[in-house]
């Protein structure tokens, strides 16, 4: 089975693809900070980040549908919280629904807050997707290591990325094996029970596989520490890029604080 990998477009040959992964990772962090540090309900200071990301996106030549699809995939997590704000935020009601003794109000302030949060979320997610659209995941991992992210987190990510697809394949095979026998139909109770079975079997197989991987690692001398080899280096253009992005990020935050308090 084949899955479209997270970093499907990372093999490109544009100027932004060629930037040092560590520089891009720091730039991503700067963009995220410049976004989340903008004060509540203010949209204008988000504009420079949006323009910068759009420029990066254009330079990377990543298809819009590819990025949009990935944003859609991650948005439910944020959407679950964002949709509550119009109802929970006190303020001027713009729409009221009376249900007996209960009234539900959508407030103007709530809508503004939800819109602002959605904008911030989309900018952060866009920046992350763009990093992965222009950098191979393994290079991001190595960059994280160079940036002194604790090894245990990097290793966890590396294993997750390595085995996520293997697990997905296993899950899909189990589901196909079930569908081959029940034709995707059948009483919901039985289907529910078999779903529980599929999850259980998948868990056991994962557990077994983890043990076998550990054996394979210890068979080759693993003693708890992972040693890596670094092939990445920062060049002048990388320094210019990362300094420019960080300076722009600081400028946005200062502007936001100075003008809006």
């Amino acid at each position: 089975m084949h899955h479209r990998m997270l970093d499907h477009f990372a093999g490109g040959e544009t100027a932004v693809h060629r930037l040092d992964p560590a520089a891009k990772t720091v730039a991503l962090l700067a963009a995220v900070l410049a976004t989340v540090l903008v004060g509540r309900d203010r949209f204008l200071p988000l504009l420079p980040t949006a323009v910068a990301l759009a420029a990066y996106h254009a330079l990377a030549r990543a298809p819009v549908w590819y990025v949009a699809k990935r944003l859609l995939v991650v948005s439910p997590f944020a959407a679950a919280i964002i949709v509550l704000f119009p109802f929970l935020e006190p303020g001027r009601p713009v729409w009221t629904l009376a249900l007996g003794t209960w009234t539900i109000e959508v407030t103007a302030e709530g809508l503004l807050r939800a819109g602002h949060l959605a904008a911030k979320f989309l900018l952060c997610a866009w920046a992350t997707v763009l990093l992965l659209a222009t950098t191979r995941f393994q290079d991001v991992l190595q960059a994280l290591e160079r940036l002194r992210v604790p090894r245990v987190f990097v290793v966890q990510l590396a294993f997750l990325y390595r085995y996520l697809w293997v697990l997905l394949d296993e899950g899909m095979r189990l589901r196909m094996a079930r569908a081959a026998r029940d034709g995707g139909a059948g009483p919901w109770r039985v289907r529910f029970q078999s779903s529980v079975g599929v999850v259980g079997v998948l868990f056991l197989r994962t557990y077994d596989r983890a043990e076998r991987i550990y054996w394979a690692m210890t068979a080759r001398g693993f003693d708890g520490t992972l040693h890596g080899t670094t092939r990445q280096h920062m060049h002048r253009k990388d320094w210019v890029f990362v300094v420019a992005v960080c300076a722009a990020g600081v400028a946005v935050v200062v502007w936001d604080r100075a003008f809006y308090g």
Binding site: M5, R212, W215, T218, G221, T229
Partner: protein, 247 residues
Amino acid sequence: MAEPVLELQDVRYRYPTGAEALRGVTFSVQAGERVGLVGPNGAGKSTLLLAMAGFVSAQGKIRVAGHHLTRGTARDVRRHLGLVFQDADDQLFMPRVGDDVAFGPVTMGLAPEEVECRVTEALAAVGLAGCEAREPYHLSVGEKRRAALATVLAMRPQILALDEPSANLDPRGRRMLIELLPGLSNTLLLIGHDLDMILQVCGRTVVMDAGRVVADGPSAQVLADRALLEAHGLELPLSLAAGNCGA
């Protein structure tokens, strides 16, 4: 006679559930010897392999390259015993093939230039030269199997032990492996059911059943013994069966 590179003496192991997996296995392998270990499912072949590397604590005496296996020497033993597991996905756990092949040499503490040299050499030996940057997930089953072999070759072990190396391989992948294996200078221990492959690659065959060694001798002799093979859930290799038909 020189001291054997692998020596097993009365190796016994009982699963935590109580079932006996190994009931006193005894045999030894000389340096440079290529041995096939065959037997039906559940004969204890894979368990024996795990016991040799100290992954399951078996009773009895196990010596690998002069090291008597104990809890304290397991690391040294594994350095000399290159295990290639059945599922290559278990063996290839790093994000890039090159990193995976480098894993063993790096944990051995070799200098970066030496590591690089070994990675290039091991990948070339299995016909995957220049594949350092590829992701294991995107390799074919045959390529994965050969990459898994390279991860162990890079450590230059004295014994190479492969668990079912031809399982799930297409004929071309299998043929490639058969041609590849004799060229590797290591002592070879080949575990599996592919008797034709073992007949071609290994000069000696050990048959196991129900946790015991039931036959041990030249492959041409052991694998031609129809009665012995059938008594232990095996069949004559196709190449020999065809010869019999013609006779």
